[in-house]
């Protein structure tokens, strides 16, 4: 959790925004995960969301489901994902890793055992897609006891009361889902997102990241002007999917570096935003 706070503090001082790429652990092969994570850092990632493969990723679109299926075909388990985090952390003590996945693999391992192992491996936050605040209160407290930030989603449909409810539990940052739909859906409406961000920031007191539908440097740049962080997932997975394994890192580097440049160009011309707390 501390690493996440440090990243946002540093970026705020620099007047820059966080770039948060997402990849699925073990896709296309567990041996490529740590090199890909290191590539993302070199390309300018500030925080990385690492997907834990699940057989039934209901909130994801076909691209991330295929990534999950490729990882599961290689037998990647939650314990193995934590091992990959540990390997990455041995060489990088700065870049926060947020684990993103579904409840069942965590419950199968045991919530307490998972939180202890994730903290121990060097993870910084956890986002469980199917633990909304209604079902995620105990889990959020367990994460905090192990120094992990409980990351929650908010959606365009979330009410003011709900934003406050999420804000009371959330740590690290809030992940604002920028459109109705699943990951990898059509492009987002920047103006509609811009209208919601100040309210969310005011009611939650944590930085707001925006994701779902960000597919290129131009959109990332537009979102960087209004939010604290930009999350890019399906587009990167597509790049990995379309690359021969030997080229995957080089292709991902080019793609993510371009997004980084777009964001930095956009924020260098506009004033930085601030958030409470």
């Amino acid at each position: 959790m501390k690493r996440i706070q440090a990243v946002f503090a540093r970026l705020q001082a620099q007047g820059r925004k966080a770039l948060i790429p997402f990849i699925t652990a073990g896709d296309p092969d567990p041996a490529l995960t740590v090199p890909l994570l290191q590539t993302l850092v070199r390309a300018g990632a500030d925080i990385i969301e690492l997907g834990v493969p699940f057989s039934d990723p209901m909130a994801d679109g076909p691209t991330i489901q295929r990534a999950s299926e490729r990882a599961l075909a290689k037998g990647v388990s939650l314990r193995q994902v934590l091992g990959l985090v540990r390997d990455f952390r041995a060489a990088d003590q700065e870049t926060p890793i947020v684990l993103m996945g579904y409840a069942n693999p965590i419950e199968a391992m045991g919530v307490e055992a998972f939180a202890a192992a994730a903290g121990d491996a060097g993870a910084d936050g956890v986002l469980v897609v199917d633990y909304p605040p209604e079902e995620g209160i105990d889990f959020a407290h367990t994460l905090r006891r192990h120094g992990l930030a409980p990351i929650f989603l908010l959606a365009p449909t979330s009410s003011a009361a709900r934003i406050a409810q999420v804000g009371a539990l959330a740590g690290g940052y809030i992940y604002y889902v920028s459109l109705k739909g699943v990951t990898g859906s059509a492009a987002l409406d920047v103006a509609a997102v811009a209208a919601r961000i100040p309210d969310i920031r005011a009611r939650t007191g944590v930085p707001v990241g925006v994701g779902f539908g960000i597919r290129d440097a131009a959109t990332a740049a537009a979102v960087a002007k209004i939010a604290d962080a930009v999350v890019v997932g399906s587009r990167i997975i597509e790049e990995i999917e379309q690359s021969v394994p030997a080229q995957a890192c080089a292709n991902v580097l080019a793609l993510v570096a371009e997004i980084r440049r777009g964001m930095d160009a956009a924020t260098s011309t506009s004033g930085g935003t601030t958030w409470a707390g």
Binding site: D56, N104, E135, V182
Partner: protein, 401 residues
């Protein structure tokens, strides 16, 4: 006041540790809206009257209870009665729930309905009510199930529905459910998701149970007419568990009535090729609720097998999970081979072609009856008719049309 088993779920949708709302934030508002609309509708006399009118005049309810005399005599023990949901319009119990949810969709101003389907019965029932109420209908169906249930796919198309094949995962019911959820989250403003079983996030398990409870309420009155008493046991097959929940729920306060759910043991519980979530699974979270699931040691959902597509599901409704733990209901399992035998027995002895799903309940009744005296009574929910299964049964018997 003591909390009785039949007072559940609680306000947040929990049946003890089961049920709940395990969905992404994107669906929370839609579920809250549904929950509010249903809370008002279920107590609105006009809504209830409309639902009952449709059940009577469109579905053909009440469905009869029939004494399977020849089969009972042959078995030589308890008397077996059949609740004839197979005689409903569209041939199964699924239509009861679809009418309830479609009326609610209309009340909520949603012109488009979507559904997932396994055997195709729920898809056909949804397509039917969509045609009846002039709604657009999209049905998600696993590619493997489309192959197994070609006739039902054609029926849905005749009724004006679009059938979307699902090629992800195991290409069966669970994958169709994932896909339908994705559609709903994308089109939530004009779309109502008609879930076909007593699973999914709150309020679905409660709402589907309520709409299906007409089966149990009628049974109580009809058994009284036939026998002047209630059965010793009520037996129903359990996949997701909607026909079982529909007949069990009104019987919950009748403590002398055993409630027996029959799961699909497929090729046998020891082979790993089965769909017996309650018998062989562990609690976990899938499709919006906490319940018993068939999963591997890493929490990945495993592929299930049953001769009957309608039971081929790795989860089960959360209220069944609760009834199992609380001991109010018992859950057993029956193999493909045993279900097929019961299918043939009912065809030849009673002139009724049962669905392969319902044949699981029949098979267990066929095992239980001979162990009981002739004055004992078993009520089996014959949840659907077997016309859709001709192809599967013929294939098993080495017959080609």
């Amino acid at each position: 006041m003591a909390m009785h088993a039949h007072d559940l779920p609680d306000a947040s949708g929990h049946f003890g540790p089961y049920g709940g709302i395990f969905v992404a934030e994107t669906l929370i508002t839609a579920l809250a809206e549904l929950n509010e609309a249903y809370a008002v509708a279920r107590h609105d006399p006009q809504f209830v009257a409309e639902f009952e009118y449709e059940l009577k005049h469109y579905v053909g309810r009440p469905s009869p209870v029939y004494h399977a005399r020849r089969w009972s005599e042959l078995l030589g023990g308890a008397q077996i009665y059949l609740k004839r949901e197979d005689l409903n319009h569209t041939g199964a119990h699924k239509i009861n729930n679809c009418i309830g949810q479609a009326l609610l969709a209309r009340r909520m101003g949603k012109p488009r309905v979507i559904a997932e389907t396994g055997a195709g019965q729920h898809g056909v029932a949804t397509a039917t009510v969509a045609a009846r109420y002039g709604m657009t209908c999209v049905v998600y169906m696993g590619a493997e199930d489309i192959r197994r249930q070609a006739a039902n796919v054609y029926r849905m198309k005749l009724l004006g529905a679009s059938v979307v094949p699902v090629n992800s995962g195991s290409r069966t019911l669970k994958d169709a459910l994932n896909e339908a959820m994705r559609d709903w989250v994308t089109n939530v403003s004009d779309t109502f998701y008609i879930i076909g079983t007593v699973a999914g996030p709150h309020p679905y398990p409660m709402m589907v149970r309520d709409f299906q409870s007409v089966i149990g309420r009628e049974s109580i009155a009809q058994m009284h007419e036939h026998c002047a008493r209630q059965p010793d046991a009520v037996i129903a097959c359990v996949g997701g568990g909607s026909n079982a929940m529909g007949i069990f729920h009104p019987y919950l306060p009748f403590e002398g009535v055993r409630l027996i759910g029959v799961e699909a043991a497929g090729e046998g519980l020891t082979t790993g090729r089965h769909a017996a979530s309650l018998t062989a699974g562990r609690p976990g979270v899938l499709h919006g609720n906490r319940t018993y699931l068939l999963q591997d040691e890493n929490g990945q959902i495993i592929e299930t097998h049953s001769i009957s597509a309608g039971l081929d599901y790795p989860g089960v409704g959360p209220e069944h999970a609760w009834l199992k733990d609380s001991g109010r209901a018992e859950y057993v399992s029956v193999s493909d081979v045993e279900a097929l035998q019961a299918f043939h027995d009912l065809c030849r002895l009673e002139g009724i072609i049962p669905a392969l799903e319902s044949s699981h309940a029949l098979a267990y009744a066929g095992k239980l009856a001979p162990t009981l005296g002739k004055d004992r009574i078993l009520l089996v929910n014959l949840s659907g008719r077997g016309d859709k299964d001709m192809h599967t049964v013929a294939e098993k018997s080495g017959i080609k049309f």
